[in-house]
Amino acid sequence: MANIQDTKSTSVIIGKIVVYIILGIFTFLALYPICWLLINSFKTTQEFQLNKLGLPGKIDGYESTLINYKDAWVRGKFGGLILNSIFYTVVSVAFIIMFSFMCGFAFAKLQSKATFALYGSFTIGLLMTLQCIMVPLFLMANWTGLLDTRLGVLIPYIGIGLPMGVYLATEYIRSIPTALIESARIDGAKFFRIFAQIILPMCTPLAVTIAILSVTGTWNEFMLINILTSTPTLKSLPVGIQAFAGALSSDYGKQFAALVIGLLPMLAFYLVFHKEITKGVAAGAVKG
């Protein structure tokens, strides 16, 4: 009897060790490139050429330095680009949330024959590949004069974020009991009032989910803003990073510093909201 228990506990321990090793490897793989980048951003390019894997300051005559950051920050004009990114993200996410709840309430609780077609077209949008609208959007922006304007960036961003938001909002509002709305109707409340005073306050948790899903998407978006803007002062941080760091194929020091600057905002956002983000991703993904 004791023997059986012994073998069982040893196998459990071995299993645990194996599992920890697997997870350790994945953790290492996930973190290593980022740590490598961070470490090397404190080396000058000369030092990096001599010491590509180690910590800075290991080679005589060199020590860790912030000069890369200073150079990159000044030459890349990242301050303005970060403000642009914040502007694009905040405005489009606010509109995505507002329009999503408006559509979601109408689709879930108001009677109309149009719902089937309209809601259906939003759910098809969930599967659409964005690349396919790249060229038509560019041409349309060109014809309407929206090319290279802030509005011309915001409108596509809102439209692209809507399918996910509308889908989540509709499913969420559907689960709110209709009796609540009916009793408010009997008391004489108009639909707009019901929407503003009953539905919206109940949707705060979902607003957080939609916000988090759209913030990462909008902040990191690169392809569209890259073709829709040409004036440097209208571009977002990722485009600026690509323009600055992508061109520096041999000046690694500045390139790495620029990449860290590009990485930090989302890293900070993730560290603060990682619980909400990991929950939101699962909620957003289950949509098949």
Binding site: C103, F195, Y270, A285
Partner: protein, 329 residues
């Protein structure tokens, strides 16, 4: 009783029938306004969002198809005095796409990405989620957070980072030298392999999160009961957990397929489709036709229409496979 009140009473009494009719009308009007109000509310709530969605996503997708069968090669105004002579000329652009050798290179690379997503990211994500969910380890939250981390970082940053990391003057040759000191960096023999590796690195965390969320929904008492009845860990996995997750696996596969066709940013930044177009994918191929050198918008839109068709075909196939092999839900 004052005179005023008397007068009022008389008035009310005198118009009793007329008042009834008015009341009825009022009720009817109220019903009507209620219906009308609902209609008004519906359209005011739906239209702003739908119009933007339609203008940005639905219309361009349809419009892309129209452009693909038109003679709109070089761009220019469609309306107004300087309008170009816009005609539908048929499927010539598609024929041109199919004659282009790089189309097949791009197609092949896209399928490699689909394969690594469906058979790499999903199984890895599942294994990790399973380990974390079975309560075998502590710090579940930490592992989950770290493995998902690459997904929140800008693709641009990741692309440039790995471009430098894998470059012959970057760190990769040094890493190899730890294991093989005689290694000499050469021109990358298989540039697509590093792209695939990065794609695997970036997105496995997404599937980890999806599987964890759904594993948590499975009633653990069922698994415990099976264990008491003598089922092994593997049997529990094979006969309880996997069938319960079949729907999620299909959803993940659909996500992976539509995501695979989206792989523009990373490749654009990391390799630009090069060297010699060997890492090109359909979206890069299309971008080159529209924005590099002399544009050919009809051709680019033909490629994008082909992408839409491929994406829906693959998703349809996945759904079919689900019906045939899974469908026990």
């Amino acid at each position: 009783m004052s005179d005023k009140e008397k007068a009022q009473r008389a008035g009310v009494n005198g118009e009793i029938t007329l008042g009834d009719v008015k009341n009825e009308k009022k009720i009817r009007r109220k019903e009507l306004t209620s219906k009308g109000e609902e209609k008004l509310a519906y359209w005011t709530l739906v239209l702003p969002g739908f119009l933007i969605y339609f203008a940005v996503m639905a219309f361009p997708t349809l419009f892309s198809f129209i452009l693909s069968i038109s003679n709109y090669y070089r761009g220019g105004q469609l309306f107004g005095p300087k309008a170009v002579d816009f005609k539908l000329v048929g499927f010539g652009s598609y024929a041109k796409v199919f004659q282009d050798e790089y189309f097949y290179v791009a197609l092949k690379n896209n399928f490699k990405i689909v394969l690594i997503s469906v058979f790499g990211q999903i199984p890895l994500g599942f294994i990790l989620a399973y380990i974390l969910n079975r309560g075998l380890v502590k710090f579940t939250g930490f592992f989950q957070t770290v493995i998902y981390l690459p997904c929140v970082i800008s693709t641009v940053v990741i692309g440039i980072l790995f471009k430098s990391f894998f470059s012959p003057t970057g760190a990769w040759p040094e890493v190899i030298r730890i294991f093989n000191p005689a290694y000499q960096p050469t021109v990358n023999a298989n540039p697509m392999a590093s792209v695939l590796l990065v794609i695997l690195w970036m997105y496995t965390g997404t599937y980890l999160l999806i599987f964890i969320a759904n594993l948590q929904k499975i009633d653990s008492s069922i698994i415990e009961a099976a264990k008491i009845d003598g089922a092994s860990e593997f049997q529990a996995l094979r006969y309880i957990i996997l069938p319960a997750l079949s729907g999620v696996i299909v959803t993940s596969a659909i996500l992976a397929i539509s995501g695979s066709l989206k792989s523009f940013d990373l490749i654009y930044v990391m390799t630009g489709g090069g060297p010699a177009n060997r890492t090109t994918v359909l979206s890069i191929f299309m971008y080159d036709k529209a924005f590099k050198g002399a544009p050919n918008y009809a051709l680019a839109n033909a490629i994008s229409t082909i992408m839409v068709i491929i994406s829906f075909l693959l998703i349809g196939l996945t759904k079919l496979a689900e019906k045939k092999f899974g469908g026990k839900e």
